[in-house]
Amino acid sequence: MIECPACKHQEFVGSLFCGECGTRLVRLSGSPTVQVPRNRIDQEASVTKPGTLDVPELEPGAVLGLWVVTTGAVLSLVGRDSYTLGRVIPTEAIIPDIDLSSFRANDHGVSRIHAEIRVDVDGVRVVDLDSANGTLVNGKRLNPQDPARIRQGDIIQLGSLSLQLISRFRG
């Protein structure tokens, strides 16, 4: 069985679309994710260090947020217990919860459905969803589909796009 990255519905191997939420389950040659050279990813990883940045306050009500290192924008994560990160393509019916296309996600090698942030009672985790260029936490590459615990100040790097986690969670 394969699992839909958007809704976790189980489908038979070979399915092209999720029968539950309609998300496409295959990569297409039509608009492939830009392959980012490893050294650019490593360079980005060495430049941004966790916890050292002057991070703005979260908006009231939000428990979690992502600070986009390159632009300084803050994305609040409100109202769900999991958030898919990716980029929207106008012609395709794949909508991640957090759309990063306005942060030049394509040039940074962010996949359409790249990673997911899961909020649980015992903390926050990030999972790489078999993205083309991979996900790094504080410069360390994650294994695809393997959840990694993240904390306030950690740098989550999608391809070469760095996001810093802002969290009211303790520990």
Partner: protein
Amino acid sequence: MSGVEDYYALLGVPRNATQEQIRRAFREAALRLHPDKNLRPGETELFLDANRAYEVLNDPTRRAAYDRELLEAEAELRSSSVFTCAIQHSRKALLQLDEPQVHYLLLDVTPAPGFEAARPPINLCIVVDRSTSMRGQRLDQVRSAAQAILEGLQEGDKASIVAFSDRAEVVVSPDQAKDRAVSRARLSLLQAGGGTVIGQGLETGLAELHASFSHDGVNHLLLLTDGRTYGDETACLDMADLAIKDGITISGVGIGADWNDRFLDDLTSRTGGAVAFLDTPKAVTALLQRTFEALSRVFANRVQLEGAFAQEVDLRSAFRLLPDPTPMADALPITLGHLPRDGQIRLLLELVVHPIGQISELVLANLTVCGDILGVGLERQKLPFEIRCPVSRHPDPEPPPQDIVATLNLVALYRMQEKARHEAELGHSSQAARRLENLATHLLASGERDLAKAALNEAQRLVHTRHLSTEGEKRLKYGTRALLLPSKSSAP
């Protein structure tokens, strides 16, 4: 098929069936079709056919000889067939897996090249609902649309108009249809009043078609209704089954919110026809013209897909994409309807392949396309073919064909709408509402603003009233089907 019948298809077993499977299939057929038991005319003949098939297949020596004979006969048929069939697979190879996997096939049936065919004569009966609810604009529009069709008849064409409420009468007979003044006068007599008994209309309409039956032409009944028929649904469906046996196809037009779309879908799809939904009667003229146009381009009638899938393979769903996007029955034989001269029948098959062992290739199915070619007196023409797929240990790195992905994307939207409706009917209204919101997002992403808005409206309605509107559910159903039309899907 040049003297050699497909005994496997007769018993409904795959070609690689074990002797035990063949025995079981025969026992089941015999129980159902035995002259002491069977119910319908023609079933005794089927029983004799099944007997003949079993006699040969049950004897391994005779079966082996028959298999060779069958393959030769099929090869010969293929080389001289009036059809061609192109097949696309979603993957180049199946996987050696110990769990089920899904495999998609896209079949394109076309007339064989070099087969010249002329415009067939058309024998059309338009069956009009004249119940009270049709009063006013609806009936006015239908009247002028029908008149336009009658005026466009060519030499050799025949047309009639039947109106029904609780009873049915012939408003314009084929003879009257030839005279413009007479048909106009007759149509002006068409007045609304009474209930909707579709069976009455069908019976009279089919009788008209039989009376002016065209042996080398298209015989078609077009049913226009805005209401529900009560109590005679089964009789109607039986009439449709008999009609297609005689080569008569049925299509439907539903106007407004209050007709029974599932019944009309069932009625028409038995004959390979389709249903159109009109939210406003204004579009009826254009729709009738399109239907008439399509009838004049028919190359083959009663096109069917027969045969059997391998025992490792189940057909999960079938969807006809061209000429009219319609979900099909999920069992063989599948009635596909008309094949246009200058076009194709495109069919999407969704297969579940059960765990397969260490083999390098799987025969997925042995299928036959079968149909009557109009105008040349060729009945039950066949194109037998085998669908094979290599089996590999490693996934195919290549993306699936664009045609299949684009199609499935839109079929997925249609299915979401079906699921939401089903959930709403079960009372899971919040679940249905969430699904419709999700559908709206997908629709917006593909630029279908109006349909997305309709989905959102219905989602809100579900939250407030726990029900879908009867008009909204039809708009979404036929709207998402229409996305599969080439003119739609090529839009950005």
